[in-house]
Symmetry: C3
Subunit: 279 residues, 3 copies
């Protein structure tokens, strides 16, 4: 691992790579983050790449707040560079993440909403700080289904009833509820989270690579959505997010402080409930 | 929504419809309830129908105790009116419920057994009063597998081991265990349940209809059983429920007070354990 | 049931058979246990066999520690006797267990690792002593994916993230965590476990056999892996367990006391973390 990235801090410790998202002012998933993620996933696809990767955030409040809604075309164009024709979506990029030979662990503090949650769902496992982690899929509240994997992963992980609740309410889920529903593997006290994840990563990092890859591949064969499913969700998102209602509701949210550090982004679940009702 | 129903009290509040089952003396699922449900689901299929429906019961002890076992042919004939040929079953009627454009929320107090539980499983989400909700599939204890969706939904929601436990033991599950197993989304203290469900319904009711429908449809595509699966379960039920053993055990239960308010219906899980063992 | 078995103590009580594994010194799954299991499953396949079977262990520390790693060829040859060509694996034997007409209940005290856990996963339900039960799939830490059903069952029961955690970390799971993840139906206090399981077994034992078989078969149709999936996992295991890395790591574990009663077997999850890291 020799590359360095503008928006991802990299640190290698034995077989374990730490990748810390650092895209001030608030870690929005925009063209730069996607560009760097495409490059990092390429590096991690090599047979000699580190066996384990821990993803976390340099921003205590935001793992990833969501995509940069002013740059959907731009970050989608960056995502397209990861794959072939038809793969121009975060969903297909995250599917590539799920299929890496490296084992990926999401370590969540703060908010992971929208594609931020979908990034974590594409990781092999995810652990959340009990006191401050927040997960949500706010898309329906804005005007579109989630488009980068949440439909697929939440339905399989949570079951129909809880997936419908999470997706249709667009509510914020705290770590405890996210654990009970299966959105994260476990909620861990914030003070113990680093050591907890480091121990798992070091343990896996010492295990035979062939066995890790074969086991992950076998589990993926049962549990990952098909490319067709991922592409359909992405196409629907890209259509509806540009539609009249999502455009209008996004504009209203920007007036209230969307994509700025502040009450609307910190409490986006609540803010969505205060938007005017529409048909 | 202009229709009124003999066995369902309807109240519209903005985009949220409350539908309260009220079929004295004890809310058995008989021909009248099924007739009214067929008509209500037809109304809710219209594009201008309310966006959210809350289902509950006017009877504090019984959401739905189960079907009227003296009128299987009659209520099945009513259910047939909801669909085409081959759809003469509660299972296919409940599958229609699951595919409504409206978002459906089950609010459970008291007992929901047999097709009562299956009705709730067909809703998009369900919340149970922590102190008094009871769910069960008593069918196997009587002499047939459940026929209206429980096999399909419980296996997907609870996984093989817990679904087998629920179905093969025919035991009563309280709200806490039902939540831990995933039979309901959450157990909520009875005193908070109305406000909790009303808040979710109002929130969803203000979100864009297109996004709600598209998201629900995408989740359904992954999680709903196929018509062939539903029909197979219904056919098996309709055969075995008329078989020698189920007929005999049903008769024994009637002698002990089945379909009357009293100890047998209140504690049906226990009553099933007291029936004579058979081969 | 007239047969007796060298490594399984049999006791019939009405419709409920208790089968207690007793293969001193520590209940390794070797050729004798597999031979007896093949014979017992044959007996249980008969239409007049007991309706319910409870599996437990005569060894308080070990339900099954894992297979006898010195006799993979031998126990596999025994397993082959249960099925036709292509079925020479514990995985296919355990699939036969899952499809028995009898209802099977695993009662777990002590450790069930590797194929011991996979045996329990193939049972219809499993209950674990809260104070002392331990489950794990240690295979990846040794150098191969699990080969006898864990990949299939854990992915379906726990979901992708938790199945990956369980399989890739090869860690010991206590009863509480196993319950939260869905690896067992429930953790039950040790002092209540016998009565708890006996009550479930007696209850099911009095229910109509036709309904039990039909319901189990319908749930299996949704939840069991296909023979092709089971065979693929078995083939991969049989290849990698004989590979260079697994051979070396197994040898290192034997030097530390594998397959003897002692610290390494009691704390195998920890012991795996102390093996030298490999590529």
């Amino acid at each position: 691992m020799t590359a360095s990235y503008e928006t991802i801090n990299i640190r290698l410790d034995g077989n374990v790579l730490s990748a810390t998202f650092n895209a001030p002012p608030m870690n929005l998933i925009g063209p730069e983050v996607v560009r760097d993620l495409v490059a990092l996933l390429d590096e991690l696809s090599h047979p000699t790449a580190p066996r384990v990767v821990i993803f976390d955030s340099a921003d205590a409040d935001f793992f990833f707040p969501h995509v940069d809604l002013t740059k959907v075309a731009e970050y989608t164009a960056e995502a397209a560079k990861a794959g072939g024709p038809g793969d121009a979506s975060l969903g297909m990029l995250f599917r590539k993440l799920s299929r890496l030979p490296a084992v990926t662990i999401g370590k969540l503090r703060g908010r992971a909403r929208g594609a931020g949650s979908e990034f974590l769902l594409a990781c092999d496992m995810r652990f959340a700080a009990a006191e401050n982690a927040v997960l949500s899929q706010p898309e329906v509240g804005i005007g579109t289904p989630p488009g980068a994997g949440a439909i697929q992963h939440l339905t399989r992980l949570l079951g129909r009833g809880r997936a419908l609740e999470a997706v249709l309410t667009s509510s914020d889920f705290d770590a405890d509820l996210a654990e009970r529903y299966g959105w994260v593997n476990r909620a861990v006290p914030d003070a113990e989270l680093d050591a907890f994840v480091a121990a798992i990563a070091a343990r896996i990092g010492g295990f035979p690579r062939d066995a890790l890859i074969a086991a992950k591949s076998a589990i993926n064969a049962i549990s990952l959505p098909t490319p067709a499913e991922v592409r359909a969700d992405a196409a629907l998102f890209q259509q509806l997010v540009r539609g009249e209602k999502a455009t209008q509701r996004t504009a209203e949210l920007f007036e209230r402080g969307l994509q700025s550090r502040g009450a609307t982004e910190l409490g986006l679940g609540e803010a969505l409930g205060h938007l005017p009702a529409v048909d």
